[in-house]
C-alpha cells in the first residue's frame, strides 16, 4: 500500500494537484500496490478531483473517513508514504516507514524536514528559500520551489525507495 497525503496546512507547502495526478498514474503503471489518499474531511473533494480518473480498486480516497488515529495505526503498513511538509510526512518518517517528502521552500528542510531512518526529502533551493511565507499571496515567485519538482523527478525518487517495479506493465 502506498499512502499519499497530497495536502498540507498551507497552500505554499502543497505540491500541485496535477503533479500528484501524474505521479499516481506513474505509480499505478509501474507497481501493483494500492494507493490510499489521506486527508482531512475538508480536503475530500479536492482529492476526489485528483483521483477521479483512476479505478477505485486501485486508488482510494479516505479523506474525512479515516481519523488521525486510524491514519497513525495504518501508516506502519505502508510500503511508501508520500507527503508534503505535513503531519503525515512526520508520521511516516517517525514510524520508520519509507517516506518521500516533497518539501516547499517556505521552510528549511534541514530544520523542519521529517526525520527517520528511511526518508527521502526532495526540494529545490531557489534564491528566495526559505521565505517563511504562507498563503497564496505569500509567494511572489510563482511557487517555483514546488513547480520545479517535476512529477518525473519525484517518481524517480519514489522508484528508488520502492525498488524496481515487479509489475508486468513495465
Amino acid at each position: 500500500m502506498i499512502l499519499i497525503a497530497p495536502f498540507s496546512n498551507d497552500v505554499l507547502r502543497n505540491w500541485p494537484s496535477r503533479y500528484f495526478t501524474e505521479l499516481i498514474q506513474s505509480l499505478l503503471d509501474a507497481y501493483d500496490d494500492p494507493i490510499i489518499m489521506v486527508g482531512a474531511a475538508e480536503q475530500r473533494q479536492a482529492i476526489n478531483a485528483m483521483v477521479r480518473q483512476f479505478s477505485s480498486d486501485r486508488v482510494s480516497n479516505v479523506a474525512g473517513v479515516w481519523t488521525w488515529r486510524e491514519t497513525v495505526n495504518c501508516v506502519g503498513g505502508a510500503k511508501l508514504v508520500i507527503a508534503n511538509n505535513s503531519g503525515v510526512a512526520h508520521l511516516g518518517a517517525n514510524a520508520g516507514v519509507a517516506t518521500l517528502c516533497l518539501f516547499a521552500a517556505s521552510h528549511d528542510p534541514f530544520e523542519w524536514g521529517p526525520r527517520g531512518p528511511r526518508v527521502t526529502t526532495v526540494f529545490t533551493k531557489p534564491a528566495c528559500a526559505p521565505c517563511g511565507m504562507s498563503g497564496a499571496n505569500g509567494c511572489t515567485n510563482g511557487h517555483v520551489c514546488m513547480t520545479d519538482l517535476r512529477p518525473g523527478l519525484v517518481f524517480a525518487a519514489a522508484r528508488r525507495m520502492l525498488g524496481v517495479p515487479q509489475s508486468p506493465s513495465t
Binding site: 497552500v11 505554499l12 500541485p16 494537484s17 496535477r18 473533494q45 476526489n48 478531483a49 483521483v51 477521479r52 483512476f54 479505478s55 477505485s56 480498486d57 486501485r58 480516497n61 528542510p109 534541514f110 524536514g113 526525520r115 527517520g116 531512518p117 528511511r118 526518508v119 527521502t120 526529502t121 526532495v122 526540494f123 529545490t124 533551493k125 531557489p126 534564491a127 528566495c128 497564496a136 499571496n137 509567494c139 511572489t140 515567485n141 510563482g142 511557487h143 517555483v144 520545479d148 519538482l149 523527478l153 524517480a156 525518487a157
Partner: protein, 529 residues
C-alpha cells in the same frame, strides 16, 4: 403499462406501479433512449425497466462489463438497480454510466441499504456473498461524488426506500419489503465558471520579482536528501580540561550511554580525571592524555601542536564513527582534525571550525555576554567651531545657541545590551561647560537619550539597546549662555556583562542531544536533473 412492470428486475418490480403513478417514470425514465444496467439480476425472463429501454448485461454485444458501447451524452437515462454493490471499481462504473447520459438526462441508481437489507456493520453480507460494499445514503452519494465532478450534476432524488419493510424480522433472516437507497442525479451543462472552481490556488509572480527568480549559484537543480539509519558503533569523546569541568560534564557523559546504547565509548581525558572517568561507568575505554597541565598556574603554556601530534600517534590506527569534543572553550577543537572519524562534533560554528560535521554554536554567556569597554578618542569627533588636535578637541569660549550642534561623533556600531556612555568633557578648572547632549542613531533620526551635559560628562548615562545599531552618535549642543573654553578628550562606552544563560553542564547535554539526534540519521544530498 402496469403489466410491463410484472417482468422488470426483481427490486424495481416492487416500485414499478408507484413510480408509474407517482410520476417518477415521467420525470426520470421517460425518454426513448434508456439503458438498464445489469437488468436481469439472477433471474431469467426479466425485461428492462421500460419497454423501449435496452437491457445491458454482460452478454450485451460490444459490452465488456466496463465500457458501454454507447456514445457520450447519448442516453436520456441510465438505470442501475442493485448492481453497483457487485462492482469492485465503483468509481469507473459510475463514471461510465454518467458518460453516456445526455445533459438534462438522469442516472438512477439503487443499492441495498446497510441498515435495512444487510443489517450488520461489517462485510461479508449474510444474504449475498457477492456484495462488495454496504451502503447508506451518504456513502452512495460519496461514491458518486468521487466518480463524477459535482459541478456536472445535481441530485434530484435521494431516499431510503423502506416501503413494505417488515421491521419485526430479525437481522439474521432475509428482509421483506423494500430495503434500498434510491438516488437520481441529473446531468447539467458545464457552467461557465467550472474551470475556476477546479483551478488550483493561483500563486503569482510579482511584476518586480525578478531578483527572486535568479537561483543562487549551483542551486539551480532540485535536491534529493536521503536519510538512513546510522547509529554509531564507536564513539570517541574528548574531555581534556580540569577537575571541575569534568564533574560538570558528568551528567552529559552519562547521557552518552542512553544516546548511543550500542556504541563502544572511548574517553580521552587528563590523567587527573582517569579515576573519575572509570568510576562513572559510562566508558568502555579511557585514554589518558594530558593536553593541559593539571594546575594551570604551574605550567600555563602548552604547545598545542606538539601535544596534538602525540595524541595523533595514540589514535591514528583507530577509526571511529563519531568524535565528540565536550570542551566548551574552543582551543581543543583542532584535536578533532587528527581523529579518523566519520562524524566530528563540537561547540562552535562551521565557519570557525570547517572540519566539524555537527557544530553547536556557542551560546556561553561568558563568551557572548561579556562586559567590554570601548574608548573613542577626540579624533573620532567633529566640530564646526572647535579645533581638533587628535588627542583633544578645543572648543573656544562663547555663547552657543540651543539649536547649535557644537561637537558630534564617534559613529560607532555597538551590539544590543546595556551601556554607560561617558563623555570626557571639561571646562576651565575642571568645571563642566553649560552644554546639553543627546545620543542618536540612524543618521540622527532616532534619539536614544538627551539631557544636560553634566550628566554625560559626570558619571555617564545608562543606555539600553534592544537591537544593535550601526552609527551611535553623541552630540553636544549649546544652551544659549556664555561658556569658557572647553576640552573634549573623547568618550567611553562600557557594556555591562550579561549574567545568566545556559550552564556549561546544560551546554554539554545539549551537544550530546544534538549529536544523538543528528548522527543517528545519516543524511546525504544529491542534485538531480
Amino acid at each position: 403499462m402496469h403489466s410491463w412492470g410484472e417482468n422488470v428486475g426483481e427490486e424495481a418490480r416492487k416500485n414499478y406501479s408507484r413510480w408509474l403513478d407517482g410520476g417518477f417514470y415521467a420525470r426520470y425514465l421517460s425518454g426513448e433512449n434508456v439503458l438498464d444496467i445489469g437488468y436481469s439480476g439472477y433471474l431469467d425472463g426479466v425485461k428492462p425497466i421500460t419497454p423501449s429501454a435496452i437491457g445491458v448485461g454482460l452478454d450485451y454485444p460490444g459490452y465488456d462489463g466496463k465500457t458501454l458501447p454507447f456514445g457520450d451524452d447519448s442516453q436520456d437515462a441510465v438505470f442501475a438497480s442493485h448492481c453497483l454493490e457487485h462492482i469492485d471499481d465503483y468509481r469507473s462504473a459510475i463514471r461510465e454510466w454518467f458518460r453516456v447520459v445526455r445533459v438534462g438526462g438522469h442516472l438512477v441508481v439503487s443499492v441495498p441499504h446497510q441498515y435495512l437489507y444487510e443489517r450488520r456493520l461489517h462485510l461479508p453480507s449474510q444474504f449475498n456473498a457477492d456484495h462488495r460494499r454496504f451502503y447508506t445514503a451518504a456513502s452512495l452519494l460519496s461514491e458518486v461524488e468521487e466518480a463524477v465532478d459535482p459541478i456536472h450534476f445535481r441530485v434530484r432524488h435521494l431516499e431510503d426506500n423502506d416501503r413494505g419493510f417488515d421491521y419485526s424480522i430479525p437481522p439474521d433472516r432475509h428482509a421483506v419489503g423494500s430495503y434500498e437507497i434510491l438516488l437520481v442525479i441529473e446531468k447539467i451543462a458545464r457552467p461557465g465558471y467550472a474551470d475556476l472552481v477546479s483551478a488550483e490556488p493561483e500563486i503569482t509572480t510579482a511584476s518586480d520579482g525578478v531578483f527572486m527568480m535568479i537561483p543562487k549559484p549551483g542551486n539551480d537543480r532540485p535536491v534529493v536528501a536521503v536519510s538512513s539509519t546510522a547509529p554509531p558503533q564507536s564513539v570517541i569523546v574528548f574531555k581534556m580540561d580540569h577537575l571541575g569541568d569534568f564533574i560538570a560534564a558528568e551528567p552529559a557523559m552519562s547521557d552518552l550511554r542512553t544516546a548511543f546504547p550500542e556504541a563502544h565509548l572511548t574517553l580521552v581525558c587528563g590523567s587527573w580525571n582517569v579515576g573519575a572517568a572509570k568510576e562513572l561507568g559510562v566508558f568502555d575505554e579511557v585514554i589518558e592524555f594530558s593536553l593541559f597541565a593539571r594546575y594551570s598556574p604551574l605550567n600555563g603554556t602548552i604547545d598545542l601542536e606538539t601535544s596534538v601530534e602525540e595524541l595523533h600517534r595514540l589514535v591514528r590506527d583507530r577509526e571511529f564513527d563519531l568524535a565528540l569534543d565536550l570542551r566548551v572553550d574552543p582551543d581543543t577543537r583542532s584535536v578533532l582534525k587528527h581523529v579518523n572519524a566519520r562524524v566530528r562534533a563540537g561547540f562552535g560554528t562551521k565557519q570557525s571550525f570547517p572540519w566539524l560535521d555537527i557544530a553547536l554554536p556557542m551560546i556561553s554567556p561568558t563568551a557572548r555576554g561579556s562586559a567590554r569597554k570601548d574608548y573613542f578618542g577626540a579624533r573620532q569627533f567633529q566640530s564646526r567651531v572647535g579645533v581638533n588636535h587628535g588627542h583633544s578637541l578645543e572648543i573656544p569660549p562663547g555663547v552657543y545657541e540651543s539649536d547649535n550642534t557644537i561637537v558630534w561623533g564617534p559613529y560607532c556600531g555597538i551590539p544590543e545590551g546595556t551601556y554607560i556612555v561617558t563623555l570626557h568633557l571639561e571646562g576651565a578648572e575642571g568645571t563642566i561647560p553649560p552644554f546639553d547632549y543627546d545620543i542618536v542613531c540612524r543618521g540622527g533620526n532616532d534619539r536614544l537619550a538627551s539631557g544636560p551635559g553634566n550628566e554625560i560628562a559626570g558619571v555617564g548615562v545608562v543606555l539600553t539597546l534592544n537591537s544593535p545599531i550601526q552609527d551611535l552618535e553623541v552630540r553636544i549642543w549649546g544652551r544659549g549662555v556664555s561658556s569658557t573654553r572647553a576640552t573634549l578628550r573623547g568618550c567611553t562606552i562600557v557594556k555591562f556583562g550579561e549574567i545568566g544563560g545556559p550552564h556549561q553542564t546544560e551546554l554539554m547535554a545539549m551537544l550530546v542531544a544534538l549529536t544523538r539526534h543528528r548522527v543517528c540519521f545519516l543524511q546525504t544530498e544529491e542534485r538531480i536533473a
